[in-house]
Point group: C2
Chain length 535, copies 2
């Protein structure tokens, strides 16, 4: 028997129109190179309406990818809505990637237009000719003095907006499963792969971020997203904030700890989110600032060290709330707030609870699976298994159907994380099957580094492993076996790599060893290597 409810698609236009009217006076602040700029939802919304016209005027087809290369700013938020509300697909490029990777990704997604912050143009422009599908580079002038090339593909955002009539009426997207945004993840080995979010997934993910036991964003909050808008849509928080009517403070390029902590204080921010490296950098500064407005500090992307969370709790009274997720999971999948069954635990035990990756949020299902047998593992807090995820905002495949082995035959995502789960479903990550190093919230591909190092004529083999690091969570360390009779220095390895990878990918150390331990199937045994070298 069919129900008799209205068939209303879950789409980003609903979020937009609701916010435009109900929350017209709420604030959006952006730190720019020229100081802080303050605006309201009403002003933002009218700019989104102009942007809609601009996209038409630029001839961007329906479903085409509109890329961004930018900081966390109000303009970026205009694109977050203007692009999907008009049926195009937002594609946020990661400004931290090596030029070749960005070019690969933009080509792969066949981006039609790129909106780029002026301050970042010098990074993007050198590869402009490699972005063969891109017809326009629209410059968002953030006050940087970087030169603007004299090129027919260059447009100025403010000029386009000023000349455009705002779109009138309601944005309509008929199919809630239409693509709204995409994001590449350099996860696992091989080339970066594209995750494509839908309107439905975005609306549901946002809604859950508004629930009390998740992030609990409300109309009375002020949110500062430290996590970049090119990282899984800043963990979906901009969409959630606009849904709730939350005031937003965007840090723009001001990502230094001093700048961030001062913004938190001055704007009486209640909610913020970012990777542990950020919170680590701020820790020494907390004592000098009044952060009493803060309600929740979400940390994710890497495990939150207990000392870090406790440091925050001692300094300002609230610990860091650990969240777990991936680009493939939109990303919010689980969150570690102590639940009422933890009441009565000792302070130390509560610290342990907060050190887990937490419990699945509504609409997400998690399970752990034995990697050899494929059997589901018990939730006993001890037996590990590969963590797998299902839910309406979890990827079913990658763009172009690449990386099929990341999905099980029954349609669950294989996360590449290894975890235990306790009887209440609290997840604890214990290992990783993917061969990657996560540094400051960004992935470094061990395999890619190894391939580059092994391409050096004097190298026989090389393995890269992750070394725990207090500041960056992890840093890569290279173990190198040289050709017999050849001598290499670390500097030579670095020199070789510098032309091939981003600077922050360079291993912290190079260890020269006589041979690399192997598994029975002949692969590098990174586990043994880690034990040998890191103890």
């Amino acid at each position: 028997m069919q129900a008799l409810m209205q068939d209303r698609p879950l789409t980003i236009p609903h979020i937009f129109h609701r916010a435009e009217r109900q929350f017209q006076d709420k604030r959006i602040v952006t730190t720019t190179l020229r100081g802080e700029v303050e605006s309201t939802y009403a002003e933002w919304a009218s700019r989104v309406r102009r942007l809609a016209t601009v996209l038409d005027q630029l001839g961007v087809p329906e479903g085409a990818r509109v890329a961004t290369f930018g900081w966390n700013t109000q303009r970026h938020l205009e694109l977050y809505f203007g692009v999907p509300c008009t049926g195009r697909v937002l594609h946020t490029l990661n400004i931290r990637l090596f030029a070749e990777q960005v070019a690969y990704i933009a080509e792969h997604a066949a981006d039609d237009v790129v909106f780029v912050d002026r301050s970042l143009l010098p990074m993007l422009w050198p590869m402009a000719d490699q972005l063969t599908t891109v017809r326009y580079f629209v410059v968002l002038d953030d006050g940087a003095d970087s030169e603007i090339p004299d090129d027919p593909r260059i447009r100025d955002y403010e000029e386009l907006l000023a000349a455009a009539e705002p779109f009138r009426g309601r944005f309509e997207v008929a199919d809630e499963n239409a693509a709204a945004a995409m994001c590449y993840t350099s996860g696992t080995t091989g080339q970066p792969k594209g995750v494509v979010y839908s309107h439905r997934s975005t609306v549901l993910h946002s809604l859950v971020s508004l629930t009390v036991d998740a992030v609990g964003l409300s109309e009375r909050d002020t949110m500062l997203p430290v996590v970049p808008m090119f990282h899984v849509n800043a963990w979906g928080l901009p969409y959630a904030a606009i849904f709730a009517g939350t005031s937003i403070v965007f840090p723009g390029p001001a990502m230094k700890p001093e700048a961030l902590v001062s913004m938190l204080e001055r704007h009486r921010v209640t909610t913020t989110a970012g990777v542990p490296t950020i919170w680590m950098g701020m820790l020494p500064l907390l004592g000098d600032h009044d952060l009493s407005s803060l309600r929740v500090v979400v940390g994710g992307g890497s495990a939150i060290p207990t000392a870090l969370s406790e440091g925050w709790r001692e300094a300002i009274g609230i610990p860091i709330t650990q969240a777990w997720g991936m680009t493939e999971t939109s990303p919010l999948a689980s969150l570690a707030s102590p639940r009422s069954h933890h009441d009565g635990l000792s302070a130390e035990q509560l610290i342990e609870v907060r050190a887990t990756q937490g419990q699945a949020v509504p609409l997400v299902d998690l399970r752990i699976v034995d990697m050899d047998t494929g059997e589901e593992q018990p939730w006993d807090g001890a037996t590990p298994g590969e963590l797998q995820a299902a839910g309406p905002w979890i990827a079913s495949s990658y763009y172009g159907d690449e990386g099929r082995d990341a999905f099980t035959s029954d349609g669950w995502l294989r996360t590449g994380d290894v975890a235990t789960m306790d009887e209440h479903g609290f997840v604890r990550l214990v290992d990783r099957t993917k061969d990657l190093v996560k540094s400051g919230g960004e992935w470094i591909s061990s395999v890619e580094l190894e391939n580059h190092i092994m391409a050096h004529e004097d190298v026989v083999e090389a393995a890269v492993i992750a070394k725990p690091d207090p500041k960056w969570t992890e840093r890569p360390v290279a173990c190198v076996v040289t050709e017999e009779g050849k001598q290499l220095t670390s500097e030579q390895v670095f020199d070789h790599l510098r032309q091939r990878v981003a600077k922050w990918w360079l291993p912290d150390e190079v260890w020269f060893v006589d041979e690399l331990p192997k598994t029975s199937t002949g692969k590098f045994s990174k586990k043994t290597l880690r034990e040998q070298l890191l103890g």
Copy 2:
């Protein structure tokens, strides 16, 4: 371009399985005639699994309607999940209706089985033979001593459960738009009409009830639903509570103010919801109880008088939060919490804000429309129009396609309420187009009363209007014109009605008048009548 997200339907089984594992220790308390019974989610869930088997054993087909005739109890909550999780449709019968109406509704829905509280069996059993589609009456023994008829259709709930193996594995409902529950509303004139909720609408509605700015149910709450489970699924709160992992206190038949207030106190209830008549009854008792655990008291179903809300605020520090909705809207559509743009208002002005029906919750769209021209009216806080609603949990039609004029050609629900909306979308009801009286949260059909009175041989015409009432919000008053030369007393009118309607439908007063004012089209002008009689 299609997105690449998993196609996971939004279904009640997800809510069930999540709760069963994540919240296994959370409490469910029920007041019964034999005292309080306490249980856990784990126990409840295993009984739901047994119930699934029982429904199979009773041969209830997929999609068939399983009716309930009961108080707010844990067993009712078992049916709330066991029925839709197995693909059947929960149909909650309203125990306040006149026997003939219940029979009409059960026939109309073609109920296959009725689960009935033993204490209510004496009300239901006399019409058993009229319920021609009902194969079984399953008695939930709540400790009442009412006789259980010796009839082959009678079954005992606990016996069935005890004999059934629990269903193992995961409940699956493939289509999120499948019917999950239905509820009849005696709204407007004519016969009661059925609203059919889907799994999707229930999940979305529940999720929004978990958001901070709506009800904000959380795992740390304890919720006492005073609103009956036969009223729009107790406003959807049982589904929301189980989704959040909220502990629940069910009042059972203990609906007296003294009993309710003592349950609120003893169980440290944080969240409760009901119609104003209930809160009115409790008001004098508040001072004698420690209700400091209460976080939110939701009032709806009728306008919340300012004096009532303020009375609560003065007594326990929190006002009543007004919510607006209908059976056709699942029901949560808008909620009146002051927003940050109200900061700085005076105490009197804030009282005014709380006296509105509030702002649309996420996923609901509201508009006001001029009834003559069909034009959308401005949100200026002054211009009235018929309130219309759209959204994924708003009815698109009634069961059997009755009452089509309640829906606009563009698919919005015509609510029959007349409202203004201010620039932030705060709704204020100012009138009603439907000819009904709402007494203690239940509808009384003016037209039906009028028809009954006019059927009296000595009556020429009769009109029923709503008179404001401090206890019941509204009570019916009848205006009667008698045949020339005939004399009638109020008592004679009451006697005539007693055999035809429920006792609480009897008008409070009968006014004998010489003639009834008419509109230009010859209809009773109730507006004029109200002005003449109520001033």
